[in-house]
């Protein structure tokens, strides 16, 4: 009806547009981290030896474990989207909660990893760190900043998925309208992929 068309309550919906906006946002996130990867590569090039020594401090086992957790959580996230596409609301919520649980697990590991380093006296501005070679100071500076900012993204991602779980329970996200959940999923995969680069750069290349 003609009058219907012009009222303010008219809701504009464009899933392709939403997805496009989300991808653009993810590009900006990649560039944000890109700046830090750029710093990492330049400083690694300038201090090869020191980076080699400093990387031995990191616990590869916890790193591996966290990588496995994040990769699995990406799977459960994808599964929750497939579940809602097949109209299985309960299953979708289950997978979303599982994803949040794994995000939490990742953060707990990170917490123990960071506090162990603090106990060893390695944190920005500490005497132990300042007595080290400047390349090692840079390595740990980058380590704390990059994994810290990544951790912040894990928290944001978990909160975002939490909101999606609520929306799914309330029936806002359904079989026909799941672009919000999809976008949250894309964000989660971004968090995952950044970790996939952080892990080898800090833990594996020694």
């Amino acid at each position: 009806m003609n009058t219907e068309e012009h009222t303010v309550s008219h809701v504009h919906r464009d899933d392709i547009g939403s997805r496009m906006g989300m991808w653009l946002f993810l590009f900006t996130e990649l560039l944000l981290f890109g700046g830090m990867f750029f710093l990492y590569s330049v400083y690694r090039f300038m201090n090869t030896e020191a980076f080699h020594i400093a990387a031995k401090e990191l616990n590869t086992l916890i790193g591996c474990f966290n990588t496995a957790i994040l990769l699995t959580s990406s799977l459960t996230m994808a599964l929750s989207i497939t579940a809602i596409q097949k109209d299985k609301k309960g299953l979708s919520i289950f997978f979303q909660l599982l994803t949040i649980l794994m995000a939490f697990g990742f953060l707990v590991n990170k917490y123990f990893e960071w506090t162990t380093k603090f106990h060893h006296g390695i944190y920005p501005g500490s005497d132990t760190l300042l007595s080290m070679d400047s390349g090692e100071i840079l390595f740990f500076g980058l380590y704390y900043v990059m994994t810290g900012l990544h951790g912040l993204h894990v928290i944001i991602g978990a909160v975002l998925i939490g909101i999606m779980t609520r929306l799914t329970a309330k029936g806002v996200i359904t079989k026909d309208s799941f672009v919000k959940l999809e976008s949250a999923g894309l964000y989660w995969h971004l968090v995952d992929i950044i970790w996939i680069f952080l892990f080898p750069l800090f833990y594996l290349i020694t």
Binding site: T3, H6, V8, G21, L32, G34, V42, N47, P124
Partner: protein, 552 residues
């Protein structure tokens, strides 16, 4: 709410966006509205308020420099004032200037859409803008005093300075996010919401430049975001990523800073070029000359502009190869800008020119921007740059581009579009007088800086040798003329919003783009029916010579 709309419509009259108040009254109706037109005006009002503050700081700075030695303030205050002038003008006025204010208002209308793709994110970007502005204000008010590093926040001083650098950094960081969200919104809107029939080459040229700008906003801003955040982290926790005392590399900071901040120059100038491309054909009553060249030159500027950042750093120590490459790229970026200037002048040639205020400001843009552009090439030349680097020559150059260019572009946009936005016409005679005073004041203020910069007057200096006195003196007189012009112009425009002659005709200037086909002021949802576009913009058929038609 919907009932109210229908009731008014019952009288055969769509409510204008100014009449429809939505969920609240007064201020609330504005700050909760997701209507792109209202958000555009929110931006316009807030950024002009910051502009007034920025002008005030500029005025004080010039006053201090009227004579050698101390005049009205001590050196520390002077350092803080030029920093504030830079931060406010760049992050709070020139960068958001045209895209956030006029882009928000007119982009959806010009492509035949009801709103932008993400109206709520649009409002969020304004809130972030205000938050960024508040952080900048906080940095002035809190103990410690405003930052004194210059708007470039160069390391290591920005880590050591005891002033509120962190607040200024966070302000710029938050403003960056606001800018990213606007860019993201515009890219998606242009891709998804063009009216049926509006192919890429039927888009008005301002849309091309806003589109190119939006991409630069999305791709370049995150870099400065992370860089400024890292400086803040460095101040908070003593992580030594840039500080040479801890092994960091301050030159790396400069690279990361200019990787954004040079493209940001094009974020500032491209939308102004778009506005000029709209105004010229309307007041020459001619189809724009070389539509595709202007459209592609916008993309070209965005592309090359992203690859020239290190020309800010020719004197900091880079390899000769790098210097050569960046110098060459700097020359290349002049080509698309020149293409635009040539096409605008070619459009004016043999047009039936109506020298109304918007065109006057647009011509002012072309003149001043050309001077700014050419002097930019001086600095792109490696040998010459050694002489003029960090002198007031550079200050003159970028004021010719940023103020003479973008500033006059914003003034042109105001004189062109404000009557459409509010349905009131300003006094055109006063507007012309204001233009000439502004134009005179501008040149008296900034031209002497070219000369004294060439003679070796360094920028950002509090004191100077007596031989520079005459130039500084003339320049300060110029600042008074310029401010007189600004006061006359703004008084005229603001007065017109309340008391100006009411305009109800749709097509105020005889334009051919879509904003002139909707009522004045535009209705809530812009179009009663989404139009179908069949011809290119700027088709001035009535002006084509009849013989030409017959020959065909």
């Amino acid at each position: 709410m919907a009932d109210d709309v229908l009731a008014i419509k019952g009288n055969g009259h769509e409510p204008s966006y100014l009449e429809y108040t939505g969920k609240g009254k007064g201020l609330k109706a504005w700050i909760t509205s997701t209507d792109h037109k209202r958000i555009g005006i929110l931006y316009l009002v807030s950024l002009l308020s910051f502009y007034v503050v920025g002008v005030l700081f500029g005025f004080l700075m010039r006053l201090e420099l009227i004579a050698p030695g101390r005049t009205i303030m001590d050196p520390q205050t002077y350092n803080q004032i030029f920093t504030l002038h830079g931060v406010i003008m760049i992050f709070l006025f020139v960068i958001p200037g045209i895209p956030a204010a006029f882009g928000n208002f007119f982009l959806p209308i010009l492509i035949g859409a009801k709103d932008v793709a993400f109206p709520r994110i649009n409002l969020l970007s304004w809130y972030l803008f205000v938050l960024g502005g508040l952080l900048a204000v906080l940095s002035i008010l809190l103990p410690g005093g405003p930052a004194d590093t210059g708007w470039t926040f160069y390391i290591p001083y920005s880590v050591r300075s005891g002033t509120n650098v962190t607040y200024a950094l966070m302000a710029a960081f938050v403003l960056g996010f606001s800018s990213i969200l606007t860019g993201l919104n515009f890219v998606t809107t242009v891709h998804r919401l063009r009216a049926p029939g509006m192919s890429w080459f039927k888009m008005p040229l301002s849309i091309w430049s806003l589109y190119a700008t939006a991409w630069v906003q999305v791709l370049a801003t995150p870099i400065i975001g992370i860089t400024l955040l890292l400086v803040a982290v460095e101040r908070w926790f003593g992580v030594g990523l840039f500080d040479p005392a801890l092994g960091g590399d301050p030159v790396l900071f400069q690279h990361l800073f200019w990787i954004y901040s040079h493209p940001a120059v094009y974020i500032m100038i491209l939308p102004a070029m778009g506005v000029i491309s709209e105004i010229i054909p309307v007041f020459a009553r001619r189809t724009i000359f070389g539509y595709k060249f202007i459209a592609f030159s916008s993309i070209g500027i965005a592309l090359f502009g992203s690859l020239v950042w290190a020309h800010h750093m020719f004197t900091v120590g880079m390899s000769d190869t790098a210097q050569l490459v960046f110098s060459l790229l700097t020359f290349l970026v002049a080509i698309p800008s020149a293409i635009k200037v040539f096409n605008w002048t070619a459009t004016l040639y043999k047009g039936s020119i109506d020298l109304a205020p918007p065109l006057l400001f647009a011509l002012g843009f072309i003149f001043l921007f050309s001077i700014g552009g050419f002097t930019g090439l001086f600095q792109g030349t490696l040998a010459v740059d050694i002489q003029v680097h960090d002198t007031s020559f550079v200050v003159a150059h970028f004021h010719y581009v940023m103020f003479g260019g973008t500033g006059f572009g914003i003034f042109a946009a105001m004189h062109y579009w404000l009557p459409k936005m509010f349905g009131r016409m300003y006094n055109q005679k006063v507007a012309k007088v204001a233009f000439w005073i502004l134009f005179t004041g501008f040149n008296v203020l900034y031209f002497p800086m070219f000369i004294m910069g060439w003679l070796g007057m360094p920028r950002r200096y509090y004191d100077y040798l007596p031989e520079f006195h005459i130039y500084h003196f003339i320049s300060t007189i110029g600042s008074w003329i310029l401010i007189t012009g600004l006061i006359i112009m703004f008084t005229n425009l603001i007065h017109s919003l309340k008391k100006g002659k009411i305009v109800t005709e749709k097509n105020i200037w005889g334009g051919e783009t879509l904003e002139w086909k909707v009522p004045t002021p535009p209705p809530l949802e812009n179009f009663e029916h989404i139009p179908t576009i069949t011809e290119a913009p700027y088709e001035y058929k009535e002006n084509e010579e009849p013989q030409m038609e017959e020959v065909k």
